[in-house]
């Protein structure tokens, strides 16, 4: 149900909001009455209940400016979903250093910068929900994903420690670790490889974005104020 926008409605920021999981989450949370703010490197259409910023999450000044605008215009931030991420499947022996650096910049540094700036705003109301994105590729030790999986393994440790540091401020930090989902992120991965990966899951099907949204729904609900530092792996990995 789409509710009328009021200042009492919670504000949710999703990074990487233009396509894939991010685009889905924007619609999902607008429909649930959140005032949704999103960002991505490229422009995206705005609509009722949704505001978009052209911001690269690795650009510290731009992220700070976006959070400053959220503080000025909304006066609060309740939820941050660190969805922005990139992958590059390649043999470790062939992976260019620049590619590895770019993956860590977006996946880890982007999450770190957004968390830090969001938590500064969230602490003003002693409430916040941060959801980061890990991956089953780390737990499955997936060949060809050494750099991507490592950048996401860093997210797991970051999530666990951030949860402890931010708990006194009323902010929870959790992570969801999706299986392969039909998005651009796995576009270049062969069908056979995806099938082999699925066979290593307890529940042998490809993931859907609604599976991810379901976990995020749980993490961000007010009743989940005793749930922090947790990583939920989808598919029974």
């Amino acid at each position: 149900m789409i509710m009328n926008q009021t200042n009492q409605q919670p504000v949710l920021l999703v990074t990487g909001a233009r396509k894939g999981i991010g685009e889905y989450l924007v619609t999902h949370y607008v429909q649930r009455g959140y005032r949704v703010v999103g960002c991505s490197r490229k422009a995206a259409a705005e609509r009722d209940g949704y505001r978009h910023f052209c911001v690269d999450v690795t650009d510290e000044d731009a992220v700070k400016q976006m959070l400053g605008t959220i503080a000025e215009e909304y006066g609060r931030l309740d939820v941050l979903i660190n969805n922005a991420g990139i992958a590059s499947m390649n043999s470790l022996l062939l992976t260019p250093t620049d590619t590895a650096r770019t993956i860590f910049e977006t996946n880890f540094m982007g999450t770190f910068i957004a968390c830090r700036e969001a938590a500064r705003l969230m602490k003003k109301h002693s409430f916040g929900r941060i959801v980061n994105f890990a991956t089953v590729a780390s737990a499955l030790k997936l060949e060809g994903e050494a750099v991507y999986a490592s950048s996401k393994a860093a997210i797991v440790t970051f999530t666990e420690i951030a949860a402890r540091e931010l708990a006194p401020l009323g902010i929870t930090v959790n992570a969801v670790a999706p299986t392969p989902i039909e998005t651009d992120l796995i576009r270049s991965v062969g069908a056979e490889k995806i099938e082999r990966l699925i066979q290593r899951q307890a529940i042998k099907r490809i993931g859907e974005i609604r599976d991810v949204a379901n976990v995020i729904d749980f993490f961000i609900r007010p009743e989940s104020d005793f749930v922090t530092g947790q990583v939920i792996f989808l598919g029974g990995v």
Partner: protein, 102 residues
């Protein structure tokens, strides 16, 4: 150097914000001699973190400059800028000066 009176007022405004979150017994007096860290201070580490964030915000409001207080220089300095309100004020004054000089 930045206007010292304006800077002191910005620091004290940050102290006010911190004190609102603290129980009476551990509040920080608005004096340059007030201890923030080490012997004589009752602040928890999270309180000091909150104060530093407030100071960064008040400095941005008062001077329009975005500073990062807890950088490597501050953390490794032999004379910690976090010992007293006065030490913090002097350190922030230097950061603003550096920012305005660049």
């Amino acid at each position: 150097m930045p206007d010292q009176e304006r800077l002191t007022q910005a620091i004290y405004a940050a102290v006010d914000e911190l004190n609102e979150q603290l129980p009476k017994g551990v509040r920080v007096a608005k004096s340059l001699d007030s201890p923030l860290y080490g012997p004589g201070s009752n602040l928890e580490s999270i309180d000091l973190v909150n104060l530093i964030i407030e100071v960064e915000e008040k400095v941005k409001e008062a001077f329009g400059v975005s500073i990062t207080i807890a950088d490597d220089r501050a953390m490794s300095s032999q004379n910690s800028p976090f010992v007293t309100v006065g030490a913090l004020t002097n350190y922030v004054s230097g950061l603003i000066h550096d920012y305005e000089s660049n």
